[in-house]
């Protein structure tokens, strides 16, 4: 009797699996956007043509491409099709960082990967405290859906590099498509890079200052060098060699010190970037700078060391109110805000490779406005688009899958009425992995109350 029941269960499960598969197979997977303007990025703009999507990929795109008979046809008259935009530095898909109930308290009981506290992610059985655990994989914690992902899609972002929120060795990032029912479906590539932030550990001992951050980064890389050597010696002569302790943290750093895995260091000011470049040079790292607000001041070095920049579009602006009793702001601050708008243009002119990232803008609706400000300050519109598409694809190692409209690439497309960077344009359709996503109109911006004139 129990046997019969279990067999029945198995049969039911199989049946339901089969149904699922059928449902998927039956779903429409072929689309054609016709009579549309196509900005391929990789080639010239096609003023009037068709893009065919099949089985999650771009099947064809061109002026003389015809919609297949089984395709669902979208009339693209008046629309422009762009490659899906890539946001190259985000925390999308991560569980919320809720405020900690007990600041400085011991290990939370929420499991190793419960990122419910504003503290760095933690790896199991680590030799290092949270925040110094390079073995943390963001892949293990991402979740599909959520308001942040939706907000990004609404402005045409289809792909994002996502990384743990905090830490010194923050962990390893993943490139995800912003649609999919499971984390596994979302991941395009993982791990993509190792991430370093320079924020000291809080309430958890050394390193508690920027001074200690640098020495602990150095010490762990030296330890990783020794770990690699010890393991090589042990592999060579296991008999007669005392077995070295395994260490997941150091093991995770081996590809970094070998220059195989890129390291993304968060650095905005000139001196922060210089420190990162120095550290990269010291340990021969494959470095990428994130943030990069003053990166243009170090263009020559960035080109020479071949270090790309993930440039934040969270452009600084004055946030304090104008009160008569306020101290005047320093000239330096005033200069820096204006100069930040020019960074992108200067990087492009100097030949520094860069990609845009949203820089945790609170209000994503400002993003395109800020792109416009970089265009008004020296960046060409063509390069602005590249910095959102093919350049991040190159920097993040997915140029064969993403970043342009070419046959065979993943069908991530952003379709816009008007020009992408025009203030009055509207994203009408977004395709991710060949499927349309529901777009919700962005909420109307909250009206800014005018200051009472007194």
């Amino acid at each position: 009797m129990p046997k019969v029941r279990s067999r029945l269960l198995v049969a039911l499960v199989l049946l339901s699996l089969n149904l699922n598969a059928n449902a998927q197979r039956g779903a429409i997977d072929t689309y054609a956007i016709t009579n549309t303007r196509i900005v391929t990025v990789s080639g010239p703009v096609i003023e009037r043509g068709t893009v065919v999507i099949r089985n999650g990929l771009i099947a064809a795109a061109g002026a003389d491409v015809n919609a297949p008979p089984d395709a669902r046809v979208i009339d693209g008259t008046g629309l422009t099709v762009y490659p899906g935009l890539i946001d190259s530095y985000t925390n999308l898909g991560l569980p919320d960082a809720a405020p900690s109930p007990s600041p400085g308290g011991g290990g939370g009981g929420g499991g190793f990967f419960a990122l419910t506290q504003p503290r760095p992610a933690s790896g199991p059985n680590s030799t290092q405290p949270p925040g110094l655990q390079p073995e943390v994989l963001v892949e293990d914690v991402i979740r599909p859906g959520g308001a942040e992902i939706e907000a990004s899609r609404n402005i045409g972002i289809t792909t994002a590099l996502t990384l743990p929120r905090t830490g010194i060795w923050m962990g390893q990032s993943a490139l995800i498509n912003l649609a999919g029912d499971t984390p596994q479906q979302m991941i395009v590539r993982s791990p993509v890079a190792m991430h370093v932030g320079f924020t000291p550990l809080r309430n958890s001992g050394y390193p508690g200052s920027l001074l200690g951050v640098f020495s602990s980064l150095r010490q762990m890389m030296l330890d990783a060098q020794r770990y690699r050597e010890a393991m090589q010696i042990y592999d060579r002569a296991p008999r007669g060699t005392r077995r070295p302790d395994t260490d997941r943290s150091l093991a995770a750093l081996v590809p970094v010190i070998e220059g195989r895995m890129p390291v993304v260091m968060l650095a905005n000011s000139e001196r922060e970037i210089m420190r990162a470049l120095d550290l990269g040079e010291e340990f021969k790292l494959k470095l990428i700078i994130a943030g990069g607000r003053e990166a243009d001041r170090l263009s020559a070095r960035l080109v020479k060391q071949n270090v790309p920049v993930l440039l934040s579009l969270n452009l600084p602006k004055r946030t304090t109110a104008a009160l008569p009793e306020a101290d005047p702001e320093s000239l330096r601050v005033l200069r820096e805000r204006v100069a930040a708008q020019e960074t992108a243009g200067k990087l492009a002119k100097a030949g520094v490779r860069f990609a845009f990232e949203s820089g945790s803008l609170n209000n994503l609706s400002e993003l395109m406005g800020n792109v416009n400000r970089t265009i008004e300050n020296g960046l060409t519109a063509t390069d602005a688009l590249r910095a959102f598409t093919i350049w991040p694809a190159e920097i993040l190692g997915v140029k064969n899958q993403l970043g342009s409209i070419e046959a065979g690439k993943i069908a991530n497309l952003t379709i816009v009425r008007g020009d992408l960077f025009d203030r009055n344009s509207r994203v009408t359709h977004v395709f991710i992995d060949g499927r349309p996503v529901d777009l919700r109109p962005a909420p109307a911006p909250t009206p800014v109350p005018t200051a009472s004139p007194n």
């Binding site: 000291p200 809080r202 001992g205 050394y206 390193p207 508690g208 200052s209 920027l210 001074l211 200690g212 640098f214 020495s215 602990s216 150095r218 010490q219 030296l222 330890d223 020794r226 050597e229 010890a230 010696i233 042990y234 060579r236 002569a237 007669g240 060699t241 005392r242 070295p244 000139e270 001196r271 210089m274 420190r275 120095d278 452009l315 600084p316 602006k317 004055r318 946030t319 304090t320 109110a321 104008a322 009160l323 306020a326 101290d327 005047p328 702001e329 000239l331 330096r332 005033l334 200069r335 805000r337 204006v338 930040a340 708008q341 400000r373 800014v448 109350p449 005018t450 200051a451």
Partner: protein, 470 residues
């Protein structure tokens, strides 16, 4: 044959190219002749109606009626004083963070990693005739971080500030700050060891014992690795490596201290391990053990006349500089404060009032003596031919409260010029007006109110165990 000659010529040209380039680069700083000034050489007396020629970043000549080279910048020094750039042997300027206070031994941290070349305090220090700083880690722990000696090349990137050839050093600290006397006991919070002066000694002794073992482990490994290719090397330890350098005499110890018992303790401990303390910093009770300090060969870097700002500072007297100087200690007067650093000339002058040091002895407190304490006395600290052209032109005697700096040179280049500063102000006001109109600088009608001015540290930073701001 012709081709061969051409090739040879080409090679010769190629070979001389880098030389030419280097020369061209050096010559970009124009030669400067300061004429008819009172030259306070510090080591060779004060010379009236004397010219000083600066060339290629060095002091090229000092004498009467020097010939001005063509294209030289000529400064009329009539009625003015030329003095070596002031050296501040205890500064925390341009450090983004001062203390790594989590551990009792933080010899692995390096101030060089956190330099901020845009710190405006640097410009103010230049305006006070200061050209060289000893940037020290704070005093939160018995063994603190590594120091950085810099020339104040304000406007240049941080790496150009580094003083080439300065002896590497490390900060030690004893007494109240490291035993956390001002940290109240809090329930449930474990106090960081040590809590007594006995513990401070133990922490330092333990660290040097570990450093000695560490060195031995590496020596043994190096000897054994010659015969055994499969030997796993010891771990490189950034905490212990600088202490090995101290033991080998390759790194100077700058020890913050106050009272006699701890000064003698460190001397004894250094003797036991066979290293020298290069300077005692603050060392307010140094006058009581001046002979012992001199016998150890240590210098003292002190305040002129501040005391009683904490218990261990109660026994200080303003005669400290004079008494230690007469006992044969190399004494310097430091600031330990971005504010005091602008007027170190007056701090030195006080030593003439308290204790009757001669003018020359008092001048040395802020020039050649701190240079000796940092191992840079061959480069700076006095006006001598061949030394770095680091100097300031004062409009009166540097020890007068009415004097101020007109121009400050480092390596022959102008880093502060009062006349230029004043002349640039209208232009800067215009720039400010334009910037304030730019979109990113427009004040928002709403949002948080502006922050108040940054809290400036009061006179003493040495007892200001910094708390990291979130």
């Amino acid at each position: 044959m012709n081709r061969f000659i051409a090739k040879l010529l080409f090679l010769v040209i190629i070979a001389t190219l880098p030389l030419n380039a280097a020369r061209a680069q050096k010559q970009t700083a124009p030669e400067t002749l300061i004429r008819n000034a009172t030259v306070v050489t510090v080591t060779r007396g004060t010379l009236q109606n004397t010219d000083v020629l600066l060339r290629n970043g060095k002091i090229a000549a000092v004498g009467k009626n020097l010939n001005a080279p063509a294209n030289a910048r000529i400064i009329d020094g009539t009625g003015k004083y030329v003095m070596p750039g002031i050296i501040d042997c205890h500064s925390h300027s341009m450090l983004d963070t001062i203390n790594e206070g989590t551990l009792s031994v933080t010899s692995m941290v390096h101030t060089e990693d956190v330099l901020n070349p845009t710190d405006v305090d640097l410009y103010r220090e230049l305006a006070g005739g200061v050209t060289t700083l000893n940037l020290l880690h704070g005093s939160a722990n018995p063994i603190g971080g590594l120091n950085t000696v810099v020339k104040i090349k304000y406007g240049r990137p941080a790496n150009e500030f580094l003083f080439p050839g300065a002896m590497p050093g490390i900060k030690f600290a004893l007494g109240e700050n490291v035993k956390r006397s001002s940290t109240p006991n809090q329930p449930g919070v474990t106090r960081r060891y040590p809590n007594t002066r006995m513990g401070v000694e133990e922490v330092i002794r333990d660290a040097f014992t570990r450093a000695r073992d560490y060195k031995r482990a590496w020596d043994e490994y190096r000897a054994a690795a010659k015969n055994d290719k499969n030997l796993i090397p010891p771990r490189r330890d950034l905490q212990l490596e600088p202490l090995v350098e101290v033991l080998e005499g390759k790194r100077y110890v700058h020890a913050h201290c106050y009272i006699t018992s701890e000064i003698l303790m460190l001397i004894n401990l250094a003797d036991e391990f066979g290293f020298k303390v290069k300077t005692f910093q603050h060392v307010l009770e140094g006058y009581k053990v001046a002979k012992e300090i001199a016998a150890h060969g240590a210098g003292a870097s002190i305040f002129a006349d501040s005391w009683a700002y904490k218990i261990e500072a109660y026994d200080a007297i303003p005669y400290n500089a004079a008494i230690m100087t007469r006992a044969g200690v190399v004494v310097s007067m430091n600031s330990d404060s971005d504010e005091r650093a602008r007027r170190l000339n007056l701090e030195a002058a006080k030593a003439m009032h308290w204790g009757d040091l001669t003018e020359e002895q008092a001048l040395k407190l802020i020039t050649i003596n701190p240079a000796i304490q940092l191992g840079i006395q061959e480069r700076v600290g006095s006006i001598e031919v061949g030394k770095d052209a680091d100097l300031a032109i004062w409009n009166g005697h540097p020890f007068s409260v009415y004097s101020r700096v007109d121009t400050t040179f480092i390596d022959g280049e102008v880093y502060f010029d009062r006349a230029q500063d004043l002349a640039r102000r209208p232009e800067l006001a215009k720039e400010r007006a334009a910037l304030e109109q730019a979109e990113p600088n427009r004040p928002r009608p709403q949002g948080q109110s502006p922050q108040g001015p940054r809290r400036r540290p009061s006179g003493h930073e040495d007892d200001d165990v910094e708390v990291e701001k979130p």
